[in-house]
């Protein structure tokens, strides 16, 4: 019973969708049909086709983009699959010193003219416009025809049953069967056809990628500069200053060696303590730049060291035979470090589990804790920085952290070397 009901619902929804697809795909053909009708109606005059033809062309050009937008939104709504539109964005419009407006193509006297001119030219030069036109020509004969089957069956049934002859009734029955059988499926070709013919072209996809990479490079440059400034400051205020003090102590001790050996000895002791302290500082600094264990042992052992040094009870399971590129190792290492620190600091966790695995796409690192959750990615926060570091390698970090916990972070880095 329930099965029957769900089938009926499916058929009704399918029928509705088929009608919508049919309607949208037939908009442009309807314009042309109207133009032909107008021409026949005027008739006689050998030039009377010109006006309807021009009207049909203008109508097609005006309708192409809205129709394609409708198809995209229908596909997104029904299948959840988003098709990137890839329309060219208009550039900025600037006012020149002489009072004219420059829109990237021409000078205009007013801002409104500049906008209108730019809209038209961007539309005309956009390769997506031609792709849209191709699609509106293609849609009626592909998805339109298929989507027309259920409504056509219904029409046949209505016409057939209204006639008294047996043959007509048979046609009516056939129409009902066709309509019912095809209803759940008739709208489905719209998804693959739209994905194939409505997607952004390779050039546009590349342009988007270039934009993304440009942003990343800018981010990275800023982050790198900040990091270098931090290192410089640490060295300047720390080790460098201590070495100066050390030199001073030694020079004074040398001077006092003969006259006041006791004080000289004390100074030498101070110098030794100073040297040890600056070594400790340098070690901390080095660990922040690139942890020595990472260089010496690679990612897995470096993460083991993190786990050993963490106040959490941390399990590490690793299945990774190869050494990765050092920059990737470093990014993932600092990612795990950040996540563990968050688990201690924000989530108040007591246990954590880290797993490092590889599959055919790349490296997968999962960090889970038993804390109170509620972690979110804030701009400028630690998790955002983590994502930025991974994005350089096209890596991603998904964090699921419901309030009350637990938090689970999954870092994926595609690696060609695996």
């Amino acid at each position: 019973m329930r099965q029957l009901r769900s089938w009926v619902v499916g058929a009704c929804v399918g029928f509705g969708r088929a009608c919508v697809v049919l309607l949208v795909s037939m908009l442009v053909p309807a314009v042309w049909a109207a133009a032909v009708g107008l021409w026949l109606w005027w008739g006689g005059n050998p030039w009377s086709w010109i006006a309807p033809f021009v009207w049909a062309i203008i109508g097609t050009l005006a309708l192409a983009r809205p129709v394609c937008r409708m198809f995209r939104s229908l596909v997104a709504k029904w299948t959840g699959h988003t098709i990137p539109a890839g329309y060219r964005e208009p550039g900025p419009i600037v006012r020149m010193a002489n009072g004219y407006w420059w829109n990237g193509y021409s000078y205009e006297r007013t801002s409104r003219d500049a906008h209108r001119d730019q809209r038209l030219r961007t539309w005309w030069h956009d390769p997506a416009t031609w792709r849209d036109l191709r699609f509106v020509a293609l849609a009626p004969v592909t998805v339109g025809v298929v989507a027309a089957i259920p409504p056509a069956g219904v029409v046949a049934a209505v016409l057939g049953f209204s006639q008294p002859t047996l043959a007509a009734r048979l046609v009516g029955v056939l129409g009902v069967v066709v309509a019912i059988r095809s209803a759940p499926h008739a709208w489905r070709p719209v998804a693959p056809v739209a994905a194939r013919f409505l997607g952004a072209s390779a050039a546009v996809a590349l342009a988007d990628r270039v934009d993304e990479l440009t942003t990343q490079r800018a981010d990275l440059t800023v982050a790198q500069a900040a990091e270098i400034r931090r290192i410089e400051r640490d060295l300047h205020d720390g080790a460098q200053a201590r070495l100066v003090a050390l030199g001073l102590s030694l020079a004074t001790a040398e001077k006092l060696m003969d006259t006041n050996p006791e004080q000289a000895k004390a100074l030498l002791r101070d110098a030794r303590v100073g040297a040890a302290t600056s070594l400790t500082e340098l070690r901390e600094l080095v660990r922040g730049i690139n942890p020595p264990v990472l260089t010496e042992r690679g990612l897995v052992d470096a993460v083991r060291v993190l786990a050993l040094d963490s106040p959490l009870e941390t399990e590490v399971s690793a299945d990774l035979q190869v050494r990765l590129d050092p920059p990737i190792e470093s990014a993932v290492y600092f990612g795990v470090s950040e996540l563990l620190a968050n688990a201690v600091k924000h989530a108040r966790a007591t246990h954590a589990r880290i797993s490092i695995t590889q599959d055919d796409t790349g490296l997968v690192v999962v960090v889970e804790d038993n804390g109170r959750g509620g972690a979110e990615v804030r701009p400028g926060g630690g998790l955002a920085g983590l994502r930025r570091r991974l994005a350089v390698f096209d890596g991603t970090c998904e964090v699921t952290s419901p309030a009350g916990g637990p938090t689970r972070a999954r870092m994926v880095v595609p690696c060609a070397s695996l």
């Binding site: 030794r272 070594l279 264990v293 050993l308 009870e313």
Partner: protein
């Protein structure tokens, strides 16, 4: 003593050799790469050797691996690892065989020449010399917290005695560090061994190894 010094940086190697010779010991070989180190350790069988962790050709943990390989060949071969940084992980690997005759110190431990030579001699005698940083990490590491119920029962004084003992110091040396009498220290050790459930042993080396094994397995 016949000593091998494996260190790739010239300044440090030279300084170490001069320091060791100033105390009347003999440096028999100064290898500068991982394979050379393994070779020198196995052919010379030195009384003790000083080995750097990071060495050519790969500039990774060549020295440490050479030391571990040599100790697999010749169990108990006394080796003191000197490094710019100390890691629990490496300490655990060095202690894993439970034989003793190992040391793991930061390079700046040579600043106090007397203590450094003392540590070297201790390792040569089959004892241990662990950096305080490693010991404090072993005592407080996440996995050790499982044993915290036991370590928690120690008094503060017993805790510090345990730490110093794990570094490899004798009762006498611990007494000096804590400004206490030797008999007081032996009282503390007896009570903390009881609390940890370890058998007390007159041989201080074996006793230290028991402590390290305890911390390492925690």
């Amino acid at each position: 003593m016949r000593i091998v010094v494996a260190e790739d940086l010239y300044l440090l190697r030279d300084g170490l050799v001069r320091l060791i010779e100033a105390y009347g010991h003999q440096v028999v070989a100064t290898p500068t790469t991982g394979p050379e180190t393994l070779d020198a350790l196995l052919t010379w069988r030195p009384d003790v050797s000083v080995v750097d962790v990071r060495m050519p050709p790969t500039q990774s943990d060549e020295g440490l691996r050479a030391a571990l390989a040599a100790r697999r060949e010749l169990p108990g071969l006394p080796i003191l690892i000197l490094s710019q940084h100390v890691q629990q992980l490496y300490a655990r690997e060095l202690l894993a065989d439970g034989v003793g005759g190992v040391g793991y110190l930061l390079k700046e431990s040579v600043f106090d020449a007397d203590q450094f030579i003392d540590a070297l001699e201790r390792v040569a005698g089959g004892g241990t010399a662990m950096d305080p940083a490693v010991i404090s990490k072993l005592l407080s590491s996440g996995s050790a917290s499982r044993r915290l119920d036991r370590l928690d029962r120690l008094t503060e004084r017993e805790h510090s005695v345990l730490g110093l003992m794990a570094e490899g110091l004798s009762n006498q040396a611990i007494a000096q560090r804590l400004f206490l009498s030797e008999s007081a220290i032996s009282k503390y050790t007896t009570s903390l061994f009881g609390k940890l459930g370890l058998g007390d042993d007159d041989n201080s080396n074996r006793r230290v190894l028991a402590v390290l094994a305890y911390l390492n397995n925690a």
